[in-house]
Amino acid sequence: MDERSPVPEPEQLHDDELASYRRAVAHAAARLARDDQEEALEPQDPDAT
């Protein structure tokens, strides 16, 4: 392992990772919302019941 890149303390690792997961979840939520909107804009089959 490169001694110039010390591994962060566990709590720092946890905090950094939690922030990263929060960003990833927000990104995923936005992607889902876009999919939901696209679905709502799809023309509906007038014969569908």
Binding site: E11, H14, D16, E17, Y21, A28
Partner: protein, 442 residues
């Protein structure tokens, strides 16, 4: 196969020899293996007919219970259990004559694509993939031919691809999850890894209590998402998969049809939300009681999962249904029996890179399941078959996804894919890897 106590001793010695370098095993179960070998010997002496897995050594991922052996889940402490009963799949395999040689390393809780502590037998400086990394490494090093893993977003298929072995995720719910630690119950699937498709298939058949017999290929065409492959994978991976897909079509006398699968970015988003939210539900109570029983990265994942609002989780379940329907329509419209993609978009990354660079690790964790998440989200069977090597000699895997509950048919397609030129190249390379590990002077 293992026939007697001498064979057990030789396998145990070989398994222990792998520990310092490859780190495939958490524990080598010598006592259990000896007991099973003695039992098999007594059956032979009594004139009983051989069973389908008679004397076949297997390994079991350490999320799956083996009676009398701690299940450690890859966590520092949290959730460790001391089962008195085998998981249903282990029980079924043992009843078919399999001999459990050991428990293999998993990425913590199955929530990760690296399996820290386990190294790739093709190149010890490279990751093995995850989360069933120990099982893949044990097979790649030639110690045994079959192992159990679990797959929630690609955890059987990804390490299989990076280690040049076969990894099969059956239709979700086909194999019992009794005695298997949960991560995301609506996506969790026990799977099998093997040196060959036949090895995967025989362990799967035993675990599912399906009698031995021929696996028949379903009639149909082969779908190939060229755009997603070329956009999402490295050029070397994309070329190897495209070549193998074309070869498979020629060998099957089938057409290769270009199709557009659901957007991998969407299926990845669905998978992440579903997995994190469900994992938090499974593990939150224990996380509250014993936070440091988990590693810091998994603790963060579980906390992030607990923050996911119910509305977002429910939106992901609705999105899953849309993707499931869209995929079913695509297969029906083009009369597809299987759909081919890369398994992992890249080959095995250097361990040093992901161990010291958090951004590189997160990129890897996000990128590995790009093509495997779809089958997990919608519950379809999928299998990774080796299909080539990159310039560094590292294995590339091709994924075949089949129709729901057409598991045996998919295995038959995979067996045909295994005869491709790229697959044979990997088999030759793997044989030399196995020789290296068997050599006393390595």
């Amino acid at each position: 196969v293992i026939r007697d106590a001498g064979d057990v001793a030789a396998r145990v010695a070989a398994a222990r020899a792998l520990l310092p370098a490859v780190g495939a095993f958490v524990e080598v179960t010598e006592g259990l293996a000896l007991e099973a070998a003695r039992d098999a010997d007594a059956r032979r002496a009594a004139g009983e007919p051989p069973r389908p897995l008679e004397g076949v050594a297997i390994a079991v991922k350490d999320l799956i219970d083996v009676a009398g052996v701690p299940t450690r889940l890859g966590t520092p402490r949290a959730g460790h259990r001391h089962p008195e009963r085998d998981a249903a799949v282990v029980l079924a395999a043992a009843a078919a004559g399999a001999i459990v040689l050991g428990k293999t390393h998993t990425h913590e809780l199955g929530l990760g694509m690296i399996t820290p502590g386990t190294r790739n037998p093709f190149d010890l400086t490279r990751v093995v993939g995850g989360s069933s990394g120990g099982s893949a490494a044990a097979i790649a090093s030639g110690l045994l031919d079959c192992a159990f893993g679990t797959d929630t977003a690609g955890s059987v298929r990804c390490p299989a691809a990076l280690c040049g072995v076969v990894g099969f995720k059956p239709t979700t719910g086909t194999l019992s999850s009794e005695g298997v630690a949960a991560l995301a119950p609506t996506q969790d699937t026990v799977g099998t890894l093997g040196a060959t498709v036949a090895d995967c298939a025989k362990l799967y058949r035993a675990a599912a209590a399906i009698p031995v017999g021929p696996d028949r290929r379903d009639v149909g065409r082969i779908g190939y998402d060229r755009a997603a492959t070329e956009h999402g994978a490295t050029a070397e991976v994309a070329q190897a998969v495209q070549r193998a897909a074309a070869e498979l079509a020629a060998a099957a006398g089938s057409d290769l049809v270009e199709v557009q699968l659901p957007d991998p970015a969407l299926t990845g988003s669905l998978s992440m939300i579903i997995v994190l939210a469900e994992a938090a539900r499974v593990w939150s109570a224990l996380l509250e009681r014993d936070p440091t029983g988990f590693g810091p990265l998994v603790r963060a994942a579980l906390r992030a999962g607990a923050e996911i609002p119910d509305e977002l989780y429910l939106a992901a379940l609705r999105g899953r249904e849309r993707v499931r329907n869209e995929t079913a329509e695509l297969l029906a419209e083009h009369h597809l029996a299987v759909v081919v993609t890369p398994t992992v978009p890249v080959t095995a990354a250097p361990i040093a890179e992901v161990a010291t660079d958090a951004r590189a690790r997160r990129r890897l964790e996000a990128r590995h399941p790009r093509f495997t998440a779809l089958a997990s989200v919608i519950g379809r069977p999928a299998i990774s078959v080796p299909c080539g090597l990159d310039r560094a000699g590292l294995p590339i895997g091709m994924q075949l996804m089949g129709d729901e509950h057409a598991d045996l048919g998919l295995l038959a397609w995979a067996a045909l894919a295994e005869h491709g030129e790229g697959a044979r190249t990997v088999a030759v390379a793997r044989a030399s890897v196995v020789d290296r590990w068997r050599s006393p002077t390595r």
